[in-house]
C-alpha cells in the first residue's frame, strides 16, 4: 500500500502509487477534508491518483523523488490547492 495516514493525520504518498491507490486516496480525503498530503519519497503517481489530487485540491507538501513529478506535476497540483 502506498497511501497511508500518519498519526498526525497527514496522508502520505510514498513509493509507486498505482491506479489502485486512487480510490484509497479519495477515501482518505473524503474522510478528512482539509488533510495535508505529504509526497516526499514518491517515485511515481498514476494519472488516476493525480486526478484525485486535482479534484480534491488538498495542500500538498514535500518533494517527490521523481523528476517528472517535481518539475511538471507539482506546479499543477499546487495551483489547485483549495
Amino acid at each position: 500500500m502506498s497511501v497511508k495516514v500518519s498519526a498526525a493525520g497527514v496522508i502520505e504518498l510514498s513509493g509507486r502509487c498505482g491506479v489502485e491507490d486512487a480510490e484509497a486516496l479519495q477515501r482518505h480525503l473524503l474522510a478528512a477534508p482539509g488533510a495535508t498530503v505529504e509526497w516526499t519519497g514518491c517515485e511515481f503517481l498514476h494519472a488516476s491518483v493525480v486526478q484525485v489530487l486535482l479534484v480534491g485540491g488538498p495542500r500538498v507538501r514535500g518533494e517527490p523523488s521523481a523528476e517528472f513529478l517535481r518539475t511538471y506535476i507539482a506546479p499543477i497540483v499546487g495551483r489547485t490547492t483549495k
Partner: protein
C-alpha cells in the same frame, strides 16, 4: 424481448455501421456532399428509432450530433475533424447502449447522455472561436504557449491529449505516456468535462485533458504516444501555414503525379525496386490525400506488382489511369442493382440461425448413433441389416448436405475482417516512420461468422508485431539492399476443412538466440531445457504467457499483451497459430482456423474414476509440478507459476465423486477464465476430441460446474465441465 425492441436493435446496428463507414468516408473526402447527406440521414433515422422505443438518452445524444451536422450544413462549411470525432464517440455510446439492451432486454433506465452533450457543446464553442470556417481550433495552442512563455521558444510541437474515459481500465497511464515524451518542456492538466465534486468522482474513470509542449518533432511525439496518438491532437508549433485551397491542391497533386510518371519512365530500362516503391508510395499518398482512396489502393497494389515482376508497366498504368480520371471522384452511390439484390435477401435473427445450427448438431449425433445400431444389426446377422445400412448411407449424405447448408448461412467473406487493416497499417506505418504497404489476397475466402468476427483482434496483434518488430528501420533496410518500402502480406485461403490466414513480412526475421535469451531471463523454462530446444521449438517460446512484457516492447505493441494473447484467442476459436522465420528475409505467422464452429474441441480428463471433457478453448497449458509447490491458502490451495499465484482446485474434491482421494500428484490443467488463470488438478489427462456440445436438460440442468454434455460414439455420455464454475 418484445418484437419492437428486437427490430429496433437490428435496424440501429445497421444504421450505426453505415454511419461509421460514411463518417470515415467523409473524413477522407470532406467535400463529398452525398456522403454528408448519408451521414445526416443515418443520424436522423437513428434518432427517430430511439424516439419510437422511447429511449430519451439516445435521442438526446443523437440530437446533439444531428445539430452539429446541421450547423455545418447551415454554414456550408466542411464537417470538422472534431465533429467527426464527436459523432463517432456518440455512435460508440449508442453501440454500448444497444449491447446493454440486447443483454437486459430493456432500455437501460439510467442511461445518461450528458457527457456526449458536453462533448458537442465543447465542439460548438470551439467552432465559434474559429476565425475561418475550416480552420482547426487551435486556441489551446496559444493558451499553452502563453502559459509557458519560457518553454515556448524551444517548443517544436504542441500536444493536446484526451485519453478515453476507460483508459485506466485498459491499463493505460496517460501521464506515463507524457513523461516518456522525448524533449518534454511543459505540461498542463485540465478536466475533459468539468470536475465533479470529490465524492462524485469516479476514480477509475479518466477525465483528463493533458496539454504539453515538446522540443521534438510531431512525428516523434506521435511515435512515442503510439496507439494513443489517435486520441491526441499533435501540432507543429512553428511554421504553420494556412491550408491551400482545393484548386491549388489539385494542381500540385497533378504536378507530383506527372513527376512520378517521368521518374518511372526514366527507370523503365532497369527498374530498381527501391525507386519503384517510393514512386508508388508518393503517388498513393497524393491520391489518398485527395480522398481518392480507391485509386490510391490500386496504385499501391500496382506498385507491389511492379516490384514483384521487376517492370514498371503496372504502376505506370495505374498512375496514368488515376491522372486520366476526373478529380475528385466521389465514391459511387449504391446503384439500383444493389437495391434489387437487397430485396432478394431476407433478414433472419442470429438466434434462429443458431437454433438451426444446434438442431443440425443433434441430428448429426442421432445419425452417428444410428451407425452404432447398424453395426449391431450386422453382428447379429439380422435381415434388416442391409436395409438399415442403405438408409443410413442415404441419411448420412443428407445430413452432411444439411450441415453444409446450415454452416453456409453463417458464412461471411474474410473481407469483412480485412477491410479495416489497410487503414491500420497506414496509421501505424506513419507513427513508426516505417513505410510499408499491405498486400491483401484471398479476402474472398469464407469462414464462419464467429470466426470472421473474432479473428480481427489477433490479426491486429500480428500485423502490429510485423510492422513494429519485424520490419527494420528504413536505414537498416537500405543497408541490407531491401526496398525502402516494406511489404506486409495478408493472405487467406482454404485448406480442406480449414481456413488459413498468413501474415508475412519482409523484415529482419526473428533472432532465435535472442528468443532463447529472453525466455531464460524470464524463467519461462529451465535454462538447460531452453538450450536443448530445436530452433523451431525455441521460436515457439514467444507464445508463452510472460514472454512479452511492457518493458521490452514499444508503445505500439506493448500493452503487456503479447503473442500468448494471439494464441489464446486463436485457440478459443479452435485454431492454431505458428511462426516461421528466415533471418534477414522475414517472418510468417500462420493462423489455421476451422471453417465452422459447429463442433467444439475438448480434452478429456479423469478425476475420481470418472471421465469429463474440458473445452480446449479455455486450456492454456497442462503441466505436472512437485507436491511441495502446492501450498495452502486458508482452506484453499494455490500454485505459483511464472511468478503468478494461481488458485488450484482438485477436480475430484469439487465434484465430490465417490472415490474422492487426496491425490496431489496428478497433472494440472491451467485454464484462462475471463482473463484470470485458474488451475485444476485431475488424476489423468486423456485424449482430444471433437464433440457437439448439448446443453444439459432434465435433472442435470441445475448441476453447477457442468457446461453441457456430449454423446460419444459408443452411446456413452461425456459431461463437459464449465471450469469457471468449478474453480469458484
Amino acid at each position: 424481448m418484445d418484437e419492437l425492441l428486437t427490430q429496433f436493435l437490428i435496424e440501429s446496428r445497421e444504421l450505426v455501421d453505415k454511419a461509421v463507414d460514411d463518417l470515415l468516408g467523409l473524413e477522407k473526402a470532406p467535400h463529398d456532399r452525398d456522403r454528408f447527406e448519408d451521414v445526416f440521414r443515418a443520424f436522423h433515422t437513428l434518432k427517430g428509432g430511439a424516439g419510437i422505443v422511447e429511449f430519451a438518452a439516445m435521442q438526446e445524444a443523437l440530437h446533439c450530433a444531428e445539430d452539429a451536422l446541421a450547423a455545418a450544413r447551415a454554414e456550408s462549411r466542411q464537417v470538422s475533424a472534431i465533429d467527426i470525432g464527436n459523432c463517432l464517440a456518440c455512435l460508440d455510446r449508442v453501440v454500448e447502449w444497444l449491447s446493454t439492451i440486447e443483454q437486459s432486454g430493456a432500455i437501460p433506465p439510467y442511461a445518461d447522455a450528458r457527457d456526449i452533450v458536453a462533448l458537442f457543446a465543447r465542439g460548438a464553442e470551439s467552432a465559434q472561436v474559429r476565425s475561418a470556417p475550416s480552420d482547426p481550433d487551435d486556441s489551446w495552442i496559444h493558451k499553452l504557449l502563453d502559459a509557458h512563455a519560457a518553454a515556448a521558444p524551444a517548443a517544436k510541437t504542441a500536444l493536446r491529449y484526451t485519453p478515453d474515459a476507460d483508459s485506466f481500465f485498459r491499463h493505460e497511464d496517460p501521464l506515463e505516456r507524457i513523461a516518456a515524451l522525448p524533449g518534454l518542456l511543459a505540461v498542463d492538466i485540465g478536466p475533459r468535462t468539468p470536475w465533479p465534486k470529490l465524492d462524485e468522482l469516479d476514480p477509475f474513470s479518466c477525465n483528463l485533458t493533458i496539454t504539453a509542449l515538446v522540443a521534438s518533432s510531431s512525428l516523434e511525439v506521435a511515435a512515442a504516444l503510439g496507439d494513443e496518438s489517435r486520441r491526441a491532437e499533435i501540432e507543429a508549433v512553428s511554421g504553420r501555414a494556412p491550408p491551400p485551397d482545393a484548386e491549388s491542391v489539385g494542381r500540385m497533386a497533378a504536378e507530383i503525379l506527372e513527376a512520378q510518371v517521368r521518374l518511372l519512365e526514366a527507370a523503365e530500362a532497369s527498374p530498381q525496386p527501391g525507386r519503384v516503391a517510393s514512386v508508388g508510395l508518393v503517388a498513393a499518398n497524393v491520391l489518398r490525400h485527395l480522398g481518392r482512396s480507391l485509386e490510391s489502393d490500386n496504385v499501391a497494389a500496382a506498385a507491389a506488382l511492379s516490384i514483384a515482376e521487376g517492370r514498371v508497366a503496372p504502376l505506370l498504368h495505374a498512375i496514368a489511369a488515376a491522372m486520366a480520371a476526373p478529380s475528385p471522384s466521389p465514391v459511387p452511390a449504391p446503384e439500383a442493382g444493389d437495391r434489387q439484390k437487397g430485396a432478394q435477401t431476407i433478414r433472419v435473427s442470429a438466434e434462429r440461425i443458431d437454433a438451426l445450427v444446434r438442431l443440425t448438431g443433434e441430428l448429426i449425433v442421432a445419425k452417428n448413433s444410428l451407425s452404432h445400431s447398424v453395426t449391431l444389426a450386422e453382428q447379429q446377422g439380422s435381415d434388416l441389416a442391409v436395409a438399415l445400412k442403405n438408409q443410413h448411407a442415404a441419411l448420412e449424405r443428407l445430413v452432411t448436405e444439411l450441415q453444409r447448408a446450415v454452416v453456409g448461412i453463417r458464412i461471411l467473406p474474410l473481407r469483412v475482417a480485412f477491410q479495416r487493416f489497410p487503414r491500420l497499417i497506414r496509421e501505424m506505418s506513419a507513427e513508426l516512420d516505417k513505410p510499408a504497404t499491405l498486400v491483401i489476397s484471398g479476402e474472398d475466402t469464407e469462414a464462419d461468422k464467429a470466426i470472421v468476427e473474432s479473428i480481427v483482434e489477433p490479426l491486429v496483434h500480428l500485423l502490429r508485431n510485423s510492422l513494429d518488430h519485424g520490419i527494420e528501420a528504413s536505414a537498416t533496410r537500405a543497408a541490407a539492399g531491401k526496398p525502402s518500402v516494406a511489404t506486409i502480406r495478408l493472405s487467406a485461403f482454404r485448406e480442406g476443412e480449414h481456413v488459413v490466414i498468413e501474415v508475412t513480412d519482409d523484415g529482419a526475421g526473428i533472432d532465435v538466440s535472442r528468443v532463447r535469451q529472453v525466455a531464460t531471463e524470464r524463467k519461462l523454462e529451465r535454462p538447460e531445457v531452453i538450450a536443448a530446444m530445436s530452433d523451431e521449438k525455441a521460436l515457439d517460446l514467444i507464445f508463452l504467457p510472460g514472454f512479452s512484457t511492457a518493458k521490452t516492447v514499444t508503445h505500439l505493441s506493448g500493452r503487456g499483451v503479447g503473442m500468448d494473447a494471439v494464441r489464446t484467442a486463436v485457440s478459443r476459436l479452435g485454431g492454431e497459430v505458428d511462426i516461421r522465420t528466415v533471418t534477414g528475409q522475414g517472418t510468417t505467422a500462420r493462423v489455421t482456423l476451422p471453417f465452422s464452429v459447429l463442433v467444439t474441441k475438448v480434452m478429456t480428463v479423469e478425476a475420481g474414476g470418472q471421465l469429463f471433457g474440458i473445452p480446449l478453448d479455455v486450456v492454456v497449458e497442462t503441466l505436472r509440478i512437485e507436491r511441495d509447490r502446492i501450498f495452502a491458502v486458508g482452506a484453499a490451495h494455490a500454485i505459483v507459476l511464472r511468478e503468478r499465484t494461481i488458485p488450484l482446485v482438485r477436480l475430484a474434491d469439487v465434484l465430490a465423486t465417490r472415490t474422492s482421494r487426496a491425490d496431489d500428484s496428478g497433472p494440472i490443467v491451467i485454464a484462462q477464465l475471463d482473463g484470470q488463470l485458474g488451475a485444476v488438478q485431475v488424476d489423468k489427462i486423456g485424449e482430444r476430441m471433437d464433440i457437439i456440445l448439448k446443453p444439459l436438460d432434465g435433472l442435470l440442468s441445475g448441476m453447477p460446474g457442468l457446461a453441457g454434455s456430449a454423446l460419444l460414439g459408443d452411446g456413452g455420455v461425456l459431461l463437459i465441465l464449465d471450469l469457471a464454475e468449478v474453480i469458484q
